[in-house]
Amino acid sequence: MNKIQTFIITLLIFFSFILNAPALIPGELKNEIDTGEKSENKPEMFFEEQVYNFGKMYTGENVKHEFKFKNVGRGELSISNVKSSCGCTAALVSKNKLRKDEEGVVEVKFNSGHYVGKVTKSVVVNSNDPVNSKYKLTITGEVIEEVSVSPKRINFGIIRKGDSCTKNIAIKTVPELKIVVKKVESPSSYITITPHKEAENSYQVIFSNYEYLGKFSGILFVYTSSNKQERIDVPFSGEVVGDVTFYPETLSFGSVKYRQDVKKTVIINFINKEVQIKKVEVEPVSVNYTISDLHNISTKKIEVKLGDTMSGRITGSLKIYTNSIIQPVINIPINGEIKG
């Protein structure tokens, strides 16, 4: 009887262990257990270094480095492939099969192309090493420009109509290359560029005398004596606002099915609190709209629905009439296509 008791209790313990085991092993630990085996007759790849820092180099330059490795295991090491993290990094392995104690080289080439700043690129060496079948080699460093412009993009932000706005740009060059900034200009008539008197290669960029409301954008051209960066384009953007702002500027419904319940929302913000909506018109007439306050009376929400608009292209507009002198009518084009 004691034997039977012992057998059943053992059976119970066994069952309970088996059934609980999966719940006790967290997902994160599974890999560690799977890769934990090590055999004496298997190959083993060993790299002297896994990270190479190339320091600094200029945009457009290349760097090459050889990562030396050795098969320190007993079996033959077979390298199936070497994969790069991106097209800018190429890797070649000197030989694919290495016997015990044989050495090889993985040559990694990094092409900086148009990169700027700190870079970390890696290649993965895939082999039959049972412990470390994916060996990661990393190449790191900093790519610097011969000429750099700060900021790379000018944001004038939101400007009230009639106001002007001034931003500064600074152009830095590598002193030993003796690069000269020849000129800084913009084809936009509302942009004036003047050099700072105190700081060399620093400029004031002044936005003024813009006649329109809405978003504006353009480019400043910085011409230099650098062969690699003969001209640097610095985009700028901003928005001139009046009494009322609205979003979006176009109501695009895209491609929708006939009678599909699609609605688009327009948000109207009153910057001048005395301005009010007098009336709203919408075309085509089959398009419906509802207007409501959003959070406070300075913000209105207009919801536009296609309603029973027939199949085909939709072109129309949402016209919002106000008592503003500078923005008596806000015209928001409507477009889209109804299928089926």
């Binding site: 008791q5 719940a23 148009h114 000018i154």
Partner: protein
């Protein structure tokens, strides 16, 4: 005696099995996270085996919600890549996608706040989810609705769980020149009062930390109450980025929406316990969801309707040179032109047309010649002589060569290739291998030096 013992054992065994089944049926809480889409709505299709995309993400979330678990999806920040109309449209589409996928919140990243403030205002007031930032303040003439934290209450396995989400942007990532309307305060200072308040209210504190992992690790040291920090910036392979600082888990979703992170929690009477963390690559195991495919079609239609191709500003070329078109090159360089027309460069435009992406400026710039420059491609109707990746895409605008045929022209190298064959669109690019695919034969014309390669 034996029978009693046997029955007792069977009952015990059944109890163990049933308790395990009960355990398997228990709901878990899943914090699902994505981030740094940078405008990537879907894999661009430039090469095989790309991962990511909102339609696969939606399918994954569908699969997860098919189980009994409670899912709270959150977004780390940087939906868009840059400022401009196309990026604005992408951000709108992404916000609608997140809303349709029942996201709880989106934390603002540095790219998000560089977009049009009116767009942020619009999206913050119309999106189905909450915009989050514990350390960003806006000063705009119109309202922007940003919450310093989100407290989400849910019922998990019969227990009421309150999850608090906080969000920060690293000051190091914020470009001071980006906008005068934005102030970013020091994250630890901004978090202190909020963490003190929320640790009394919430069962779980989650920080969406739009910052490098090293900075998030420092934040974890300051706030051991935070259980999970979703973080990382420009991390291409998030698989190897899981870090623990004491008991705080720090993990990144990587960039461009290629991965989705899932952290699983179980609940019990004593509280909540982290069970696992997983980073799921969105590969073709996940089908494309029809809902998101419709949204992507709508995006392409909007791009067409708003004529983004035609609205791009054209930059003048240096020295007032201009593009002439490959057919003009072919008048003299017949052999070279004939060879080119049979390469992938020679049919690059048609590959876009076959997928319906020929109106997308982001695609068209590498599938046509000179797009974005004065005299370059604008659209098919205006200059179909500049479709495809023509001779001048590699050799430069051809007008000076026509005027001075004996003068040096068109020397090119791998740097020029990498304008289009970049990490995002051509990660397998290796110059020597790819060069062989397009290398054209030498062609010496009488009185004219040989064609440059």
């Amino acid at each position: 005696m034996f029978m009693k013992l046997f029955i007792g054992c069977i009952v015990t065994l059944l109890f163990i099995v049933s308790s395990i089944n009960l355990y398997a049926a228990t709901e878990d809480l899943l914090i699902v996270f994505s981030g740094e889409e940078l405008g990537s709505l879907e894999p661009c299709g430039c090469f095989e085996g790309q991962i990511g995309g909102i339609s696969r993400r939606d399918s994954l979330l569908d699969l997860l919600s098919g189980k009994k678990d409670v899912i709270l999806p959150v977004s780390l920040g940087d939906l868009s890549k840059s400022a401009g109309r196309q990026d604005d449209i992408k951000m709108e589409i992404l916000c609608r996608a997140l809303g349709d996928m029942d996201y709880v919140t989106h934390n603002l990243g540095e790219k998000d706040i560089e977009t049009d403030p009116q767009l942020i205002s619009y999206l913050s007031q119309t999106s189905k989810f909450v915009f989050l930032s514990s350390n960003i303040q806006f000063t705009t003439p119109f309202p922007i609705k940003i919450n310093p934290y989100v407290l989400k209450e849910c019922m998990v396995s019969g227990h009421t769980i309150k999850v608090a989400f906080l969000g920060i942007l690293s000051k190091a990532l914020f470009n001071n020149h980006a906008s005068d309307a934005v102030t970013v305060s020091e994250p630890v200072q901004a978090l202190k009062p909020l963490v003190n308040e929320l640790k009394k209210k919430a069962s779980l504190l989650v920080l969406l930390s739009h910052s490098p992992i090293e900075e998030s690790a420092e934040i974890a040291k300051s706030f051991p109450e935070i259980d999970l920090i979703i973080t990382g910036h420009s991390i291409e392979e998030p698989d190897g980025s899981v870090v623990y600082v004491n008991s705080t888990l720090i993990v990144s979703p990587g960039k461009q929406g290629k991965y989705v992170g899932v952290v699983k929690y179980s609940t019990h009477n004593m509280g909540i316990k982290r069970k696992s963390v997983e980073l799921v690559p969105l590969d073709n195991k996940y089908r494309d969801s029809q809902e998101m495919i419709s949204l992507l079609k709508e995006y392409q239609q909007i791009v067409l309707d708003e004529d983004l191709l035609g609205n791009v500003s054209q930059i003048p070329l240096l020295d007032n040179v201009s593009y002439v078109g490959s057919a003009v090159c072919g008048l003299c360089h017949k052999v070279v032109h004939n060879h080119w027309s049979k390469t992938k460069h020679g049919v690059a435009y048609n590959t876009l047309v076959s997928k319906g992406y020929q109106y997308d400026p982001e695609c068209i710039k590498c599938h046509t010649t000179g797009y974005g420059y004065v005299s370059g491609f604008v659209n098919y109707d205006e200059n179909n002589n500049l479709i495809n990746t023509g001779c001048e895409s590699c050799h430069g605008a051809g007008s000076p060569h026509i005027q001075h045929v004996t003068e040096p022209y068109g020397v090119t190298d791998e740097h020029d290739c990498m304008v289009c064959h970049d990490a995002e669109h051509s990660p397998k690019f290796q110059f020597n291998e790819y060069w062989r695919k397009i290398e054209h034969p030498e062609e010496t014309l009488s009185g004219i030096p040989k064609t440059p390669e």
